[in-house]
């Protein structure tokens, strides 16, 4: 059996006396489509932040594609192929939509390939990504001119521009209407079919169930279930966590 793409072992994170993550073990193989759910305050975003390097975990280890991530800053993790999108879109507001996409192409993809990308390569990839997410005609607009769903698409497109092996989408659909949620799910499924492993953190259960082939549940910083989505949602402990 090949080594997992992401191997999290005994991950722990505290904020003062509050235990946000308590010994998380998680192994994800390349190409998987994983949903990560849990009530508010269960530690989902803290886990994403520890994996992406925004927060530093005190206990445990994270291996990505065979590399131990301890001590690596966030930008190096992105360059290794671990990209994330943010719960609230964080576009580079002074730049156009197109330039937002160029940043990871310059600083992650081009840095990874030791500067072998030409200006036209970057422009082609940028246009391709904008076309893929349906923002081709918005390239020259500024993020402030975008609708909520387009802003979410830009956030995802920027994470995808880093050409990741693993994409962590943190609540990419919050605040969207039903059809807009479908658009984003389709986009993530298409991305997965292109070979990118995707972890989706989401509260909208219909989207999670449609997207996920595997479901992981966190409650109070602990992993309480991990398996096929249909089995996991019938798990009594999961029902208790959600319904009380």
């Amino acid at each position: 059996m090949s080594a997992p793409l992401l191997d999290v072992a005994g991950l722990g994170k505290r904020f003062g006396g509050f235990v946000a993550l308590d010994g998380i073990d998680l192994s994800i193989a390349a190409g998987e489509r994983v949903g990560l759910i849990g009530p508010n305050g269960s530690g989902k975003s803290t886990l994403v932040n520890c994996l992406s390097g925004t927060l530093i975990n005190e206990i445990g280890s994270v291996k990505f594609d065979g590399t131990e991530l301890a001590g690596l800053p966030a930008h190096q993790r992105t360059r290794l192929g671990l990209a994330r999108s943010f719960q609230l879109p964080r576009p580079f507001s002074s730049m156009t939509v197109g330039d937002n996409i160029r940043v990871p192409l310059i600083y992650a993809v081009n840095a990874r390939s030791h500067g072998r990308l030409s200006e036209s390569d970057i422009a082609t990839r940028c246009d391709g990504l904008l076309g893929l997410v349906g923002l081709a005609d918005r390239a020259r607009d500024f993020p402030r001119d975008l609708t909520q769903v387009d802003m979410r698409k830009l956030e995802l497109a920027r994470a995808m521009a880093a050409e990741p092996k693993l994409l962590i989408a943190d609540e990419a659909m919050a605040g969207l209407s039903g059809s807009e949620v479908n658009d984003i799910v389709e986009l993530l499924i298409m991305l997965n079919e292109r070979g990118v492993t995707v972890i989706l953190i989401e509260h909208i259960m219909s989207a999670v169930m449609r997207f996920s082939k595997r479901l992981v549940v966190l409650v109070s910083g602990r992993k309480i279930a991990d398996g096929r989505p249909d089995d996991v949602i019938r798990n009594p402990e999961v029902e208790r966590a959600y319904l009380g």
Partner: protein
């Protein structure tokens, strides 16, 4: 426009400015012009860190003073031609910038600004107590009256500062148009998102503090020669700290043109005020304009012009 095309164009403009002022045949214009150009370099240097990356440096006067005192020190120990003094001052103040970056760049917003202010206080205390460079009583640096080719030494110092302004503006513009400029802008917009996009934010901020510090120091290097006497209270004064922030903000921080426009406008205004009213009103003028622009036009003169241009289109 490629950077070297810009450099050639800027050099031609600078040569025309020099010839024009020389044609006026009045040393005062060289003095006044030197001061304005010194502020062009200072404002451009401040903008590399403050405008491009969004880290506000209140310690500009300290970097300027490092340049000034590098010259005083070298003048006493091993006098060099002014261009080499400028290079030496750039190296020393660049290293101070790098050191400041290492110590303070994990701070953000107001905390970073306060730390830079503290650096200025520390450096001023060192200079005041360092008698070799004059200490609190100050130091005299006598300049030669003439120099080969150019003739008048004041004209020569003006020419040197003109050259430095061209280099500073070319560097700032080149940064803006490069991937480094993209990286700086991501830091200003959202540091967390920048890191998540692969931008090595700490490394880029260190580059910005080093470059910014180096140019500020270089702006100060010829100062002892033009003034002939330097003392800590003057070079660490409010004038340099306030002007180097106000000029880019009034001109516009998003591009290299902003600090140039702000420095020419405010620098000239202050020279006129010095002659017609009193030099004491200079900081008052800058303060009032700064408050007005922050309220009415936060993107500066360049921002106002760009907005009007977009409306016209």
């Amino acid at each position: 426009m490629k950077w070297w095309t810009f450099l050639i164009t800027a050099t031609i403009v600078a040569a025309a400015v020099f010839a024009g002022i020389r044609a006026l045949n009045n040393d005062y214009y060289f003095f006044a012009g030197y001061t304005v150009l010194q502020f062009v370099v200072l404002a451009t240097a401040w903008n590399i860190l403050g405008g491009y990356t969004g880290y506000v440096n209140f310690g500009s006067a300290a970097f300027f003073a490092v340049g000034v005192y590098t010259t005083v020190f070298l003048h006493k120990t091993y006098p060099l031609p002014v261009p080499l003094q400028i290079v030496a001052a750039g190296i020393v103040s660049g290293l101070v910038g790098l050191g400041m970056g290492y110590l303070t760049l994990r701070l953000r917003g107001a905390f970073f600004a306060i730390a830079t202010l503290a650096l200025a206080v520390v450096l001023q205390t060192i200079i005041v107590n360092w008698s070799y460079v004059g200490g609190a009583r100050g130091a005299y640096v006598l300049r030669p009256a003439t120099i080969e080719i150019v003739g008048n030494y004041i004209h020569y110092l003006f020419l040197v500062m003109l050259g430095l302004a061209v280099i500073a503006l070319t560097t700032a513009r080149a940064i803006e148009k490069s991937s480094l400029g993209y990286g700086f802008a991501t830091i200003r917009d959202d540091e967390l998102a920048a890191e998540a996009s692969g931008v090595p934010t700490l490394k880029l901020k260190l580059i910005a503090t080093t470059l910014s510090g180096a140019f500020m120091g270089m702006a100060g290097a010829p100062f002892p020669y033009i003034q002939a006497y330097v003392q800590p209270n003057a070079v660490f004064g409010l004038e340099y700290a306030v002007n180097s922030i106000a000029m880019p903000i009034i001109g516009g921080t998003a591009s290299w043109i902003g600090p140039l426009v702000g420095a020419i406008l405010l620098g000239t205004l202050q020279q006129v005020a010095t002659v017609t009213i009193s030099s004491a009103v200079n900081v008052l003028i800058v303060g009032l304009l700064l408050v007005a622009f922050v309220i009415v036009a936060p993107n500066g003169i360049v921002g106002v012009v760009q907005k009007a241009w977009r409306r016209k289109l």
